[in-house]
């Protein structure tokens, strides 16, 4: 079994982020409780330690004290002074008081989204805007307030990545699949989908206007389609898991606006099961070809 390499996980991902030239970074996951928040924390901490100004935001429900779908406790973020944060008015901590910079028109069940500057270190819940479009607006606003923006994403809301110029970290964990093999398949499918290459325009192609759905994909495979299938961006590929892997095996899928996945993280402990940490990290690294980090063991897969 390969031995993991000691790593300062947050610093390592921050370095990859800086090399990507993207100012915003989304942490997306293969499921619930796969370590997105722990990954976010590690990257955020690295930004603070490096003196890099940072803003935080979230998609949809993430960051609430209790996960709406799973009822499991969700850790909040301890934010340091000068951090910019986008969250709903209803969850702004009353103490320590924050500086209110602006109130947006984006409504959530917990009130409108506000932009805050942290004045005294404290615990914050991140409640994000309800739509991908609104989240893009929030990210654009935050980029005017901070050099870097870190977004706690979600597996089912990658539409928010469309139209942006973001780096992406994919988090996967034992919570999302019953076996190590299935968890690895899930992350391989997600990364294959997010990492669809740019269409160079040199080969015969079939442009898909809108989403590439499972039905459409099955028809194309049945028809023995040989042309390159071109979507606007990877968020238009509405496939996951085995269906996605099969589609990528049988069809040549490309996009006009590619995304940038820069790393993967693994969380080997889930509420119901745990995977052997080094075996899991190593399998994810091999399946995705990405630098893969275990935030709990502070190791990088060999």
């Amino acid at each position: 079994m390969p031995i993991g390499l000691r790593a300062r996980v947050g610093e390592s991902i921050l370095a990859l982020w800086q090399q990507s030239f993207a100012r915003s970074l989304f942490v997306v996951g293969t499921g619930k409780n796969v370590g997105k928040t722990v990954t976010m924390r590690a990257i955020y901490r690295a930004c603070i330690d490096a003196g890099i100004g940072c803003a935080l935001a979230s998609i949809g429900r993430d960051g609430e004290a209790y996960d709406v779908t799973g009822e499991t406790a969700k850790p909040r973020y301890r934010l340091e002074p000068a951090t910019i944060v986008a969250t709903a008015c209803g969850v702004i901590p009353r103490s320590p008081a924050s500086e209110v910079l602006a109130l947006t028109s984006y409504e959530t069940a917990a009130g409108v989204i506000a932009y805050l500057r942290v004045r005294g270190a404290g615990l914050y819940e991140l409640v994000g805007p309800p739509s991908a479009y609104a989240l893009r607006g929030v990210v654009d606003d935050l980029l005017a307030l901070a050099p870097r923006v870190l977004v706690d994403g979600a597996v089912d809301r990658i539409a928010a990545l469309a139209g942006g110029n973001d780096a992406i970290v994919v988090a996967c964990g034992a919570a999302s699949a019953p076996t190590l093999g299935e968890a690895v398949d899930d992350v391989r499918a997600l990364v294959a989908r997010l990492n669809v290459a740019r269409f160079t325009g040199e080969e015969e192609s079939l442009a898909v206007d809108g989403a590439l759905t499972a039905t459409m994909t099955a028809e194309l495979i049945r028809a023995g389609e040989r042309r390159t299938i071109v979507v606007r961006d990877p968020t238009q590929i509405a496939l996951s898991g085995k269906a996605a892997l099969r589609a990528f095996e049988r069809l040549r899928i490309r996009c006009v606006r590619p995304l940038r996945v820069i790393a993967a993280t693994v969380a080997t402990i889930g509420p119901e099961r745990a995977f052997e940490p080094r075996a899991f990290a190593d399998a994810v690294a091999r399946a995705t070809g990405l630098p893969t980090f275990d935030v709990y063991t502070a190791e990088r897969a060999a």
Binding site: V9, S98, E99, A114, R117, I269, A274, Y296
Partner: protein, 534 residues
């Protein structure tokens, strides 16, 4: 704006109420609240209607387009502090986001008053309550527009925060020492709150200060085990944080109480802001469309010079085509005749639209105008044929039902616009019916304007007769079947001028020429001309 009893929905649609309502809509929430309650002036309120229109016109004259736009944009951006003030007035403790909104409202009031300082017709928004509350919040101003519960609000706040910073530093140091010791012992980074230690990496037992949460054959899931020193530091940190929270809440309580004490006058300021927004939006409308103040009279004819039906005028302008304003003096009832597509309906709509503007105390789109306030403006005929009772009614029957409904309303004075009423029945009976309706309206002392192709109506009803001049000649049919080009050719040949004609003076509809221009087969056109000669 509310229709009130002035218009029914079909008439409102026919004369452009929705268009007008959108054109004069204010930008911000305070204005919208005020705007939604506006009702038309009714007969007897001539002076008030005239005064309001004059006030709007003075604002339009006082400000150039740039300044009107600045005020409009300011109103669009101002947050609605109404809910915060209402909550404070009921004893709620306002949170910082609410205090931020209230402060931004005060800033907007100040800015509005500066922008409109040289025009007494725009209400002032900064009153004593705004001054007092803005002063109370001033210490919270952060950066260009932020709000923070700053130390300046209360000396004890700074002291409490300093104490918390010290306690936090003490705790961080204690925790940092423990974390560093474990990291050094394990020779690796330690994540919080949990971290994994692989059994294979351990030469001996786990280092002190580590608590095992879960263990498997391959690893330990651990967390830092706080020692007494760290626990003590944490307790002191928590106490200091609680003290900060207590003082912050006391500051919020004080600020909320200040707002509570001035809530009623702050409501006045918000109402004034709304009124300013409504007036400035109307002034933008008046300025953009060169509107004038109509003379509103208790009784008398509808008279206007160079009147325009703005929705059509702007649509034509968008297409690069000219709109011909019309002059009209409507004293009792009148008939409008003229060719197809000559602007008869537009004439009726211009008349209704001008009366509508006057009813809402707005300057009107005309060079000059004089008219009474109407208790009702009714539209009958084309453009009001929505089926009120299911699909079994013919278009004629629908017109009759509308007429019946209009007859049932006892409003006075009223303006009734009839667009080709009874056009779908036998022309002889249709004419008789139209003449009878005009006579009935005259007996009711209504103003009525009827567009029709039926000959001899004006003379038979004893009404004035206006006619559109019509085609200057038979236009050349375009070489292609291009409809927009045909319409352009028609427009170039048509004289849309409306003029009063003596007697019956009926003019042709130019229908055959129009049919030819729009592409009907030449053999059909020739046959039509032959039939006409017979």
């Amino acid at each position: 704006m509310r229709l009130g009893a002035l218009l029914d929905a079909a008439s409102a649609q026919a004369i452009g109420f929705a268009w007008l309502s959108e054109a004069v809509a204010p930008a911000g929430s305070y204005g919208q609240s005020r705007f939604s309650a506006i009702e038309p002036f009714t007969p007897g309120e001539e002076e008030a209607a005239c005064s309001r229109a004059a006030r709007i016109a003075r604002i339009a004259a006082a400000f150039d387009a740039g300044r009107l736009q600045s005020v409009y944009e300011l109103a669009a951006r101002v947050p609605d502090a109404g809910a915060a003030v209402a909550r404070a007035s009921m004893g709620d403790l306002l949170d910082d986001a609410s205090l931020f909104e209230v402060q931004r409202f005060f800033d907007a009031c100040t800015r509005l008053d500066v922008l409109t300082a040289d025009c007494a017709d725009v209400p002032r928004t900064v009153n004593a309550a705004v001054v007092a509350c803005a002063g109370a919040l001033e210490a919270g101003r952060a950066g260009s527009s932020g709000f923070y519960l700053a130390d300046g609000f209360d000396p004890s706040l700074g002291q409490a925060r300093t104490a918390l910073a010290h306690a936090q530093a003490e705790y961080d140091a204690a925790q940092g020492r423990a974390r560093a010791a474990v990291a050094q012992a394990l020779d690796r980074e330690v994540s919080l709150p949990e971290f994994i230690v692989m059994r294979a990496d351990l030469d001996g037992p786990l280092p002190p200060g580590v608590r095992v949460v879960r263990e498997t054959p391959a690893y330990f899931l651990c967390e830092l085990d706080a020692d007494e020193a760290a626990l003590g530091a944490m307790r002191r940190r928590d106490d200091a944080a609680a003290n900060v929270a207590r003082v912050e809440e006391a500051v919020r309580e004080r600020l909320s109480a200040t707002i509570r004490a001035h809530a009623s006058a702050l409501d006045d300021a918000m109402r004034a802001f709304g009124e300013a927004d409504v007036l400035v939006a109307a002034a933008r409308f008046a300025s953009a469309h060169r509107c004038t103040v109509a003379q509103i009279v208790n009784d008398g004819p509808v008279v206007f010079e160079a009147g325009r039906y703005l929705p059509l005028a702007l649509e034509l302008e968008r297409q690069g085509r000219a709109y011909t304003p019309i002059d009209l003096r409507l004293d009792g009832s009148a008939v409008v005749t003229g060719p197809n597509m000559g602007g008869k309906s537009a004439c009726l709509r211009a008349c209704g639209f001008i009366a509508l503007c006057a009813a809402f105390g707005l300057p009107v789109p005309a060079l000059r105008a004089q008219l009474p306030l109407f208790a009702e403006i009714g539209w009958l005929g084309i453009g009001a044929d929505r089926d009120p009772e299911g699909s079994l009614l013919s278009s004629f029957a629908r017109e009759v039902v509308r007429l019946r409904d209009l007859q049932a309303v006892a409003a006075s004075p009223r303006l009734i616009l009839l667009d080709e009423f009874a056009r779908t029945t036998n022309p002889r009976e249709g004419k008789a019916l139209l003449v009878a309706v005009l006579e009935w309206l005259r007996a009711e002392h209504a103003c009525a304007l009827a567009a029709t192709h039926l000959a001899g109506v004006a003379q038979a009803a004893g009404a004035q007769h206006y006619a559109v001049r019509g085609l200057r000649g038979i236009p050349q049919r375009p070489a292609t079947e291009d409809l927009p080009l045909a319409l352009e050719t028609l427009a170039a040949s048509m004289d849309y001028t409306l003029e009063e004609v003596g007697g019956d003076g009926a003019r042709g509809a130019d229908a055959i020429a129009l049919a030819s221009l729009l592409g009907i087969d030449a053999r059909v056109i020739d046959a039509a001309y032959r039939a006409l000669e017979q």
